[in-house]
């Protein structure tokens, strides 16, 4: 899969140009925009991305851009602020809004590169998780109503007998449906299935492989 891109938004041409140059020379995919307005009107559709932006720009300022990106992209896009102004109070507000780092110009370029590389690594993992989740949703879409009901029962740790009672069908029927579910979901075991389900719900990183739930 594609390595996550870095988008540089700064109305100063030289700062923008130098940053894109540096990021590319460090092996990253980078692209520059002259304003928040330009960026939003031509917004990339990447599932994950890293954005480096200045605060004081004509049109939509950096703070407003952060707000909008948070609304549109949530945690999937990481934002780093670079500013020539050094306004401490806005730093606190922005960090609270989930900005990854707040760096004053002129900055030690290596520091920015490290921060960005760290973001990109996390984003790469996040992209994988997002893809997995999507694949799971697709597979779930292929289950029949009954199969879905059995799946939900299994995901809640219900035994075959309990599921049979819940659904008012025989345990034998449940076993048949269970087999179908395992095949369609491409799960090798019950714990595998449970892991998948938790990943779908977003708890992927908290589960360690091998944890078994009672059947």
């Amino acid at each position: 899969m594609k390595t996550p891109s870095v988008y540089v938004i700064d109305d100063d041409f030289a700062v923008r140009d130098a940053l894109v140059l540096l990021l590319r020379s460090e092996g990253l995919r980078a692209r520059g925009f002259a304003s928040g307005t330009d960026f939003l009107s031509d917004l990339p559709s990447d599932p994950v991305a890293c954005v480096i932006t200045d605060l004081r720009m004509p049109g939509i300022g950096g703070a407003e851009l952060v707000r909008r990106l948070n609304t549109l992209k949530g945690d999937a896009w990481s934002i780093v602020i670079i500013t020539g102004h050094g306004d401490v109070s806005s730093a606190v507000d922005l960090m609270k809004a989930g900005v990854v780092d707040f760096i004053e110009k002129p900055f030690e370029p290596l520091r920015l590169v490290e921060t960005v590389k760290g973001c990109v690594a996390q984003l790469r993992q996040l992209a994988v998780d997002l893809e997995d989740r999507e694949r799971l949703e697709q597979k779930l879409g292929l289950l029949t109503t009954r199969e879905r009901q059995v799946y939900d029962g299994l995901a809640h740790g219900r035994s075959n007998k309990e599921i049979a009672a819940d659904l008012e069908i025989s345990p034998r029927t449940v076993e048949v449906f269970r087999a179908h579910v395992m095949t369609k979901m491409e799960a090798s075991s019950l714990s595998d299935l449970l892991r998948m389900d938790l990943a779908r719900l977003g708890y992927a990183r908290q589960l360690t492989p091998g944890a078994d739930a009672a059947a």
Partner: protein, 384 residues
């Protein structure tokens, strides 16, 4: 004529008690008027040796002594350095005002202005009437006005310097950031090419270090020059506006502009000097805006608009602001474009922001622009 009547009136009075002033013996309407005149005009009559022959009741009040205490004393005791011999006839005749330092009976010194007139005819010895004016109150008001003026000027200078430093440093930080980044990119490229080895890499690192050092110097300088933001205190609005009135009162007439102040009482969280600066600046701008117009009106208004906020507005009857100008004034200051607003308005905007408000621009009923911002109301404790 007047002086003669004056002298006679006093001499004809019977001796009084030290603490009471019995009603004067009134012979004619003219004397009645003279008596009334003396009540409001502090005056003394002195002889050729500057000794007090008579003193009006208001002059007694001025010096805080009784007639008896004053009579016979040299005026030079009360008015420092006063010596009739040094005052020429020409001065008496011209009614010229001179300024002196006087002393009350309790020792308090105060500024006083004098006018003298010779008593012509009617008396055997030469007499001079001295009219006095206590300038202490006027002086106090003037000093207060000066003090405020100086405070405002100083705060303004400090703010200007701070603002300029902030703008300059912001402007400089851009090329410095770009330079440091370009240098880093070169290092990355060179290390990949493996061509020039350690020496070039080291030199580039040194160059980058200097650029970052320039940035640190700018940061430090800006901190030094930045005006400290004082914490906001609860301040009553009316006294703050009243203090500005003399200044505003000078601005208007000079420019042939009517400045109307319509401010309701209220208690707000404010930094008094900073807020006064901001208001003075807005009023000054408004006066400038109407300078070339037929209708020259400026209005300063203030009222509580909600439980939490008090709004101040400055409106003018000028040409108003175009959409472009409005947009430029309100948008966040851009890094590369020069400041379109002018130093004054950007300082004013900053002061408004420090007060927790934001400037809003609109059209005034007077036909021109309206600048408004809100202050936080301070909780008022019930009094009176």
């Amino acid at each position: 004529m007047f002086a003669r009547k004056l002298a006679r009136g006093w001499q004809d009075r019977p001796p009084k008690q030290a603490s009471e002033t019995p009603p004067p013996i009134v012979n004619t309407a003219r004397e009645a008027r003279l008596t009334a005149l003396l009540t409001v005009t502090p005056a003394v009559t002195i002889d050729a040796r500057s000794r007090i022959l008579a003193i009006s009741s208001s002059a007694c009040a001025l010096f805080r002594m009784t007639e008896d205490e004053a009579r016979g004393r040299g005026l030079g005791d009360l008015v420092e350095g006063f010596n009739l011999a040094t005052i020429s006839r020409a001065t008496h005749q011209s009614g010229q005002i001179s300024y002196w330092k006087a002393r009350r009976s309790d020792g308090e010194r105060f500024p006083v202005s004098l006018q003298t007139a010779e008593v012509v005819g009617g008396t055997s010895r030469s007499e001079v009437v001295v009219a006095l004016n206590d300038l202490s109150l006027w002086r106090a008001a003037d000093l207060q006005n000066q003090k405020l003026s100086e405070e405002l000027h100083q705060a303004w200078r400090q703010n200007s310097v701070g603002q300029m430093a902030a703008t300059l440093s912001h402007e400089l930080n851009q090329p410095l950031a770009a330079a440091a980044t370009y240098l880093q990119a070169t290092q990355a490229d060179l290390s990949r090419a493996g061509v020039l080895g350690d020496s070039a890499g080291r030199t580039l690192e040194l160059a980058k270090g200097q650029v970052l050092r320039a940035g640190a110097i700018i940061r430090r300088t800006r901190k030094l020059l930045a005006a400290e933001d004082a914490p906001l205190q609860p301040e009553p609005i009316l006294p703050m506006i009243q203090e500005l009135e003399p200044m505003i009162g000078l601005l208007g007439p000079e420019a042939g502009t009517t400045i109307h102040i319509d401010v309701e009482a209220g208690l707000v969280m404010a930094d008094r000097i900073q807020l006064q600066q901001a208001l003075a600046n807005l009023v000054r701008n408004a006066v400038e805006a109407v300078a070339t117009c037929e209708q020259r009106q400026v209005r300063l208004m203030g009222r509580a608009i909600s439980f939490a906020y008090y709004e101040l507005r400055v409106e003018d009857s000028g040409a108003g602001l175009s959409d472009e100008e409005t947009r430029r004034i309100l948008e966040p200051q851009s890094s590369s474009k020069p400041n379109g607003m002018g130093l004054g308005l950007s300082i004013t905007r900053r002061i408004v922001e420090v007060h927790g408000g934001s400037m809003s621009l609109g059209k005034s009923a007077l036909g021109g622009a309206a600048f408004a911002f809100c202050l936080q109301r301070a909780p008022e404790t019930r009094n009176l």
